[in-house]
């Protein structure tokens, strides 16, 4: 149990996907301007990460590994994720239209999100059990959510400030991201000390 909590908390705070592992930077910079879209995008990412792990972990363990096909990991995972996202979209549209309405726009874009492919591969690389892998995906998704929401707050306060000409747009966004990321450095070591 303690191990699960450690995995969850370190995925959210210490190894935050966006701010310390640099995965999923495109949506982080692209969709974080407004709080609404930031929330929608991150909820969709959490959702897809969980299902993707639930499907890719058994595929790796029960299909690829026993038959010595481990080298097909990259191809199989990206295809599975792409197909899965399509399927989820169709199912949601048919049965849960309310959810589809709020997440629908973001779902197809997640296929090429490196955070999703990253989390499925990392779960295998770290040798997690199925439960640990699911917890890690949940934590990673929550970490993404936290980073997106925090950063959209930072960006909205930046809107009216007087920024040097050549820093306008992306450069100042990146500098702000650096400071946001700096605040996450403070979590390093906290979790080991709590449970160590």
């Amino acid at each position: 149990m303690t191990k699960l909590i450690i995995i969850l908390l370190s995925a959210v705070f210490i190894n935050n996907y966006v701010l310390s592992r640099f995965l999923g930077i495109c949506p982080f910079l692209g969709v974080s301007k407004k709080l609404n879209s930031a929330t929608g995008m991150s909820l969709a990412v959490i959702f897809v990460m969980l299902i993707a792990t639930a499907v890719t972990w058994p595929i790796q363990m029960y299909l690829l590994n026993p038959y010595g096909l481990g080298y097909l990991q990259t191809i199989v995972f990206i295809l599975v994720i792409a197909a899965l996202v399509q399927l989820v979209e169709i199912v949601l549209k048919r049965y849960v239209p309310a959810l589809h309405k709020s997440l629908g726009v973001y779902l197809p874009l997640i296929t090429t999100n490196c955070a999703v492919l990253g989390v499925t591969i990392l779960n295998i690389d770290e040798g997690y059990t199925f439960l640990e892998a699911m917890v890690n995906s949940l934590g990673s998704g929550l970490g993404f959510f936290l980073a997106m929401v925090m950063f959209s707050g930072v960006r909205s306060t930046m809107e009216d400030s007087d920024i040097p000409e050549s820093f306008k747009g992306l450069p100042i966004t990146l500098v702000a991201a650096a400071i946001t990321s700096l605040s996450f450095l403070g979590f390093g070591g906290v979790i080991e000390n709590l449970f160590g």
């Binding site: 701010l19 310390s20 592992r21 640099f22 995965l23 999923g24 930077i25 495109c26 949506p27 910079l29 692209g30 969709v31 301007k33 407004k34 879209s37 995008m41 080298y71 097909l72 990991q73 990259t74 191809i75 990206i78 295809l79 792409a82 726009v105 973001y106 197809p108 874009l109 296929t111 090429t112 999100n113 490196c114 492919l117 990253g118 591969i121 990392l122 690389d125 040097p164 000409e165 050549s166 820093f167 306008k168 747009g169 992306l170 450069p171 100042i172 966004t173 990146l174 500098v175 991201a177 650096a178 400071i179 990321s181 700096l182 996450f184 450095l185």
Partner: protein, 229 residues
Amino acid sequence: MRTLRNFSKGIIKENPVLVLVLGTCPTLATSTGVLNALGMGVAATLVLTFSNILISALRKVIPDKVRIPCYIVLIAGLVTAVQMLVKAFAPELDKSLGIYLPLIVVNCIILGRAEMYASKNKVFDSAVDGLGMGVGFTLALFLMATIREIFGNGTFCGLEIPGLKENHISILTMAPGGFFVFGLLIAAVNKFGKHKPKKKHPGCAGCPQAEICQKSDTAGDGEEAASHD
């Protein structure tokens, strides 16, 4: 002459990292050391060149409706090949690049060039375009890694630099330093870049996130601001 221009546009005028701002994830993650950055750059260049060649050769065969999945499968196959080569011949590089090596599959630069260039042009032109973009990507990574390694770690390619080794700013090699240096570099490109900005952010045509992405507006603003100088 035309070939030369086709090749060089990827290096300066349409540099994928610093001007088009694509492929930010590997740029930030692997530019902590010069050797890592070069390894990543060469691996991505290989995939980019061959994916451009293949996709251009198959452009009349691949049906338009399912072209993106087809491109992704082709790219994933190439990435797997590169992954196996790196594992066999440079196991240390494989260890230090880790997860970012398989993640070349979802690198926006590669899918972007496939969609914007290789699917419309001849094989030779596409190969040159892929090579140029790859070299531009590698050079941008090299530049960023040089800054981060020299000032952040006091070394260059692992060789110690006297004077800097004792006074290094180690935050530069950590995550915040990556964002910071990248921001400064793009600001410098905005300031000194002489290129005429295009109306629409050119990197976005091939990006599946273009529809909801707000980066295109901000990057466009930045470039326009630079052109007023």
